[in-house]
Symmetry: C2
Subunit: 410 residues, 2 copies
């Protein structure tokens, strides 16, 4: 199933490096936050490259850019692929960019080969995937898939008070297309860096993403009794030692059930060197590829927190904060990515993504699958983020082959 | 060894309640911070009460108030007792006050009985024991015992910029006596509330304090690797789970070696719900009645921190912050307090103090011992601090008997 498409890894790499000149960071990465001048400039470069290929551009009302290559059968739903060009304030050169420019490379290779697909193809650059300047993340895909209200998104403000809709017009990328039209895609593929260390550690060339993990976030408040540190240990009701045992237990449960459990924030009260903490607040982020397993994780975490609190004569209150459903990707498309990787002789891993991506929102309406590219040390959202040209090329080739297999060749 | 001294528990209690009317708190406690108008007013009331007994007052250059009752033999070194009248901003009515007014009650009972002691007696109100307004605590006793420079203390400023020496003059309590004269005391006794729950829990009437614990305070910085919470557990180097294990281990070691171990402050970085913490900083406060045992505690804590860090592939840096030597009280005086309690039929516990007191500084130069009075729930530095009149009377009687036994009756 490996195609003969002349995907050019060097051309892909040099395009990535070219784009990275726009909105450079201060340490070798990128600062091309959404709807800044740099974002506008990056969009113009993408537009120029796509126009050179004769692709028709459409921009919707939240700024999502769509470049269409006609297929032989205009009645077939388009096969789309892409990612995002916006970055974190101290972002890397590959997060998002790889998926857009790999999509561009697929378009270029098709042009070089003169291949015509049966279904039309679309390359998409989604607006504001990062959510760094305007929260929440994945706004463009969220609006397109009907998950966010368009008017609400256009009214969002950044920390300086600038309004999303006004900034979109200011940089010249407020279009007229209806974002919801993208719900009619026949398929969507996204290549993205892993943002984790698993692929590199396992020596895999590509990751085939099977779906997005279900998530449950909550907050725990442990209340014991404040006491002077000069008092003996026997009678203490130390909220921090209790919370520490809970944090260790959460890790153990996540390990055992094959999910992720993270305590990311902790606040200790009264936060004094010589006072036994009377109260500790901490956050819990639980994730699992399967919603039923997530529910079991959460149940076990609650039981353990209750047991530790009871044994230590402290109380523990648990308040839900946010949750996200399990989002499996399309089995046919996932299978097709695996076949493509196998046919190319790549070592690949099947894995869920615990991280949000445009593809996760698109998957709510459109058959979707994702490809992960390894990244050094799992580093991302960091200017030092790095991948190898060989990894980028491998991901791009799997993308190209799966796109061709899905769209069909005329 | 129980004396016939007519100590009057009701008079003691009503004096405590009378003094509490000066600088009342907002929730039934006291706000009589050092060198405020309220502190000055409290000092005046004590002076009036002492003058009614014919006691001669001397005030030294840092404001320590000393009331002397002559003994039959003026060549004998004085036997002193007292505590402090200043409070925390939201302090209780008993912390410090109990010791001063119990000393006053001893003086009153002696006057009632017409008893003349062989050695002179001195009642002392130390300046700024709390350290809440001007840091550090125990300034008056620290200067008197030569542990702090008098000029430095006089130049200390409060958070509003007011200067210690100027405030002392403003409230009219800057005296001319040499604070160092108090190094010539023959003995010093202090009755103080326990500020911990042990005595109440054990059903004891009084505590006999054997000395002050040695203390070692340090800071630990655990450095792992930041990672997105969407990444799997296997490859994490979570600084917080490592720190949590260390915190649990510190408690265990303190328990096992009969000391105190407290982690009071924790700071997590980057402190984001969905980021595995890359760095955690926390404080450690270790205390033990015996310096050798403290050293062993610290050794074991360091070994365990190193072992946990190694097993979790994180690093742990330990930086000393402060230390305080073991300060045993005078064995003869401690024994005398125990005999007094026994003779009165009180249930008593011998215990170290892990908390700083004027007596701990005085003990560096003068034979010293302390009596603890139980307090409800161990609550202190809190307006809800409370004791019973019976506990106050018991402590006062043990103080009276030990003072008489030490000074001798003419």
């Amino acid at each position: 199933m490996a195609s003969n498409l002349p995907v050019d890894g060097e051309r892909l790499w040099s395009s990535i490096m070219e784009l990275a000149k726009i909105g450079p960071g201060i340490a070798g990465g990128s600062n091309r936050q959404t709807l800044t001048d740099a974002d506008g400039e990056g969009r113009h470069l993408l537009r120029r490259w796509c126009e050179e290929l004769g692709l028709a551009m459409s921009v919707d009302r939240v700024g999502n850019m769509v470049f269409t290559r006609p297929g032989a059968d205009a009645t077939l739903p388009p096969v789309a692929f892409g990612s995002h060009l916006d970055t974190q304030p101290t972002g890397g050169r590959f997060d998002g960019v790889l998926g857009v420019l790999a999509g561009l490379e697929v378009m270029r290779a098709l042009a070089d080969a003169g291949t015509v697909t049966r279904a039309p193809l679309m390359l998409i650059n989604w607006t504001n995937e990062e959510g760094a300047r305007f929260s929440p993340p994945m706004m463009g895909s969220g609006v397109a898939m009907g998950l966010f209200e368009e008017a609400e998104v256009l009214a969002k403000t950044d920390p300086a008070g600038a309004v999303f809709g006004a900034e979109l017009r200011r940089i010249g990328w407020a279009g007229e297309a209806d974002p919801a039209a993208l719900q009619q895609l026949g398929a969507y593929f996204e290549l993205h860096i892993e943002q984790g260390p698993l692929l590199e550690t396992e020596g895999a060339d590509v990751g085939i993403v099977t779906g997005a993990s279900a998530q449950a976030w909550f907050e725990v408040t442990v209340t014991g009794a404040e006491a002077h540190a000069g008092n003996g240990m026997g009678l203490r009701r130390d909220a921090l030692v209790a919370a520490s045992q809970m944090i260790v237990a959460i890790e153990g449960i996540a390990h055992e059930l094959g999910g992720n459990g993270t305590v990311g924030r902790v606040s200790v009260s009264p936060d004094s060197r010589n006072v036994v903490p009377g109260r500790v607040w901490f956050t819990v982020d639980l994730r699992h590829a399967r919603a039923t397993a997530l529910a079991e994780m959460e149940r076990q975490v609650r039981v353990r927190i209750g047991a530790i609190a009871g044994a230590r004569r402290v109380s523990a209150g648990i308040v839900p904060f946010w949750s996200f459903p399990e989002t499996p990707f399309d089995a046919t498309l996932v299978g097709r990515l695996g076949e493509a990787a196998k046919a190319r002789g790549y070592r690949f891993l099947e894995m869920p993504t615990g991280i949000g991506h445009d593809a996760v929102y698109v998957a709510r309406r459109v058959p979707t699958a994702m490809i992960f590219c390894p990244c050094h040390g799992g580093l991302s959202h960091n200017e030092a983020e790095s991948i190898t040209p060989a990894w980028a090329e491998a991901g791009c080739k799997v993308l190209a082959d799966a796109v061709l297999a899905t769209a069909g060749v005329a």
